[in-house]
Amino acid sequence: MSNAAALAPSNPTPPPDAGPVVALRDVSISFDGPPVLQDVTFSVAPGETRILLGPAGVGKSVLLKLVIGLLRPQNGSIVLFGEEISRMPEEKLFPLRSRAGIVFQESALFDSLSVRDNVGYQWIQEGAPDEEIDQRVREALSFVGLAETFSLYPPSLSGGMRRRVAIARALIHNPELILYDSPTGGLDPVTSTTIIELIVKQRDVKATPSVLVTHRLQDAFTLCNHRFDPEQDRMVPLPAGQTNANTTFLMLEEGRLIFDGSLDDLLHTDDKFVREFLE
């Protein structure tokens, strides 16, 4: 974390009157069987971080893919950056998607490309000069603490390093929305904390709206109870009783959204499934 300000914007505060970055309304999808998601409605406001909780197999990853049009819903509408995308042709979706960043569950790095080419993929495709690509990639890799992996290939990286490279790839374009699909899944506690620290850093330094999918409550609570301190260049706990007001929760059960609210609401809900999940 030696380069905290590398990707920092000039003004991390979102405009107060801006509409939602993402808005889903009555979204349903199924794949040759019972519905995976049914009538899901929620939105993500500028600067907001939404933590999507739920046990494995309830459609969390599907929901993330719907948000940026990688999957199409059978019913409902999805508005991304103010544009309805649920029926939008694929060609028109590419420029919209490039404004968002996504970290896939298994990183989804291009195995045959070096870390430099993976992280700078968008810039390379846009034909940016090599010097500029190198500089931006080094900045992004410094942001995730992996500057030394510049010339390596993904198969030679550990699981945690691959996840951090994937975060660097998602952040290099200064996205207006970031989607994290189980970024700490399958990682050890120390590496998980490093990943969560990066997410907190992105949230607090850049105020980038995000949706984070996880089934690890510990990660979710850490996001709520911590802030990034630029002076110390690390994540620090908020004072007792305080939580991050822009970090809120969603919970899925069997394809339905059963909870949408703050950490306080989550801890005091009467919903039986939520209580069982928390316990």
Binding site: K65, I68, L70, E90, E91, F94, P95, R97, S98, A100, G101, I102, F104, Q105, E106, A108, L109, F110, D111, Y121, Q122, Q125, R169
Partner: protein, 259 residues
């Protein structure tokens, strides 16, 4: 119960055909709309073309040799071994050079495309590419299909040439005939319609093997087992389709250029 199974299978086949038609036509039209990834086209041309040269040379050479052996045995009964060169060159150029090269390259490259793209699908690399604002059809599929077409045309010429050389080797060293006579007959009876027939076919075969390899790769489901299934489907279907389309093209070309 059986009716239901037949009904489901028939619908599945029609659906696959529809998906393939849309996929192949979209990949084709992409060549005429920017962005065009020329670097990827050149890289694929190297992999498909240069990488396939050894197997094409060997298969062409030995096929020409076998043709010379078999034809000489039959032609000697009529005292017509002198036309061995004509037989080998016409068979290689009009038919076997294109078909054998198509099947050999399909075995090598349709399988490679299906497994490579299939692995990218199951590890979400294709989704990652789409999420990064890059169209996988343009970036991955179109360059592979057009590299297949361009390279199969050149590889077929190589195969034809080595087939004739293989026939010459057998004619001279095993059948102890005159090399000049062999090459004279091989050249003398060769006409432009024969060459056109031989060079039109690889254009279709390249399109078939490239589009089918990419099609099965891009619709892979079911993890690593699914990649295996996609690879098998790509090789089997492209090989069968090459032979079937060869029949149709030959029929059409013979009506245009009657012998």
């Amino acid at each position: 119960m059986a009716i239901n199974t037949i009904d489901r299978t028939a619908k599945q086949i029609v659906l696959t055909l529809q998906e393939y038609s849309l996929f192949a036509s979209r990949a084709f039209l992409n060549l005429f709309r920017p962005p065009i990834y020329w670097t990827d086209f050149l890289m694929q041309s190297d992999i498909i073309g240069v990488g396939s040269v050894p197997i094409v040379i060997l298969s062409g050479f030995f096929t020409g040799g076998v043709l010379a052996l078999q034809s000489a045995a039959t032609l000697s009964e009529f005292g017509a071994t002198a036309v061995t060169g004509q037989f080998v060159s016409l068979t290689m150029i009009r038919e076997l050079g294109a078909v054998l090269t198509g099947i050999m390259v399909a075995g090598r490259n349709a399988s490679s495309m299906a497994s490579e793209l299939g692995s990218m699908v199951v590890t979400e690399q294709i989704d990652a590419m789409r999420a990064l604002g890059v169209d996988p059809m343009r970036k991955l599929v179109t360059p592979r299909i057009f590299a297949s077409i361009a390279m199969l045309l050149l590889l077929t010429i190589v195969s034809d040439a080595f087939g004739i050389v293989g026939g010459a080797a057998v004619t001279v060293f095993l059948n102890h005939q005159n090399a000049t006579q062999y090459f004279h007959m091989a050249y003398e009876r060769l006409h432009y319609p024969d060459i056109i027939q031989g060079l039109v076919k690889p254009l279709f075969f390249g399109y078939i093997l490239g589009s089918i390899g990419c099609f099965y790769g891009m619709r892979t489901t079911g993890g690593t087992e699914g990649v295996g299934r996609a690879t098998i489907s790509a090789v089997v279907n492209s090989s069968v389709l090459i032979i079937a389309v060869d029949f149709l093209i030959t029929h059409v070309l013979l009506s245009i250029f009657p012998t």
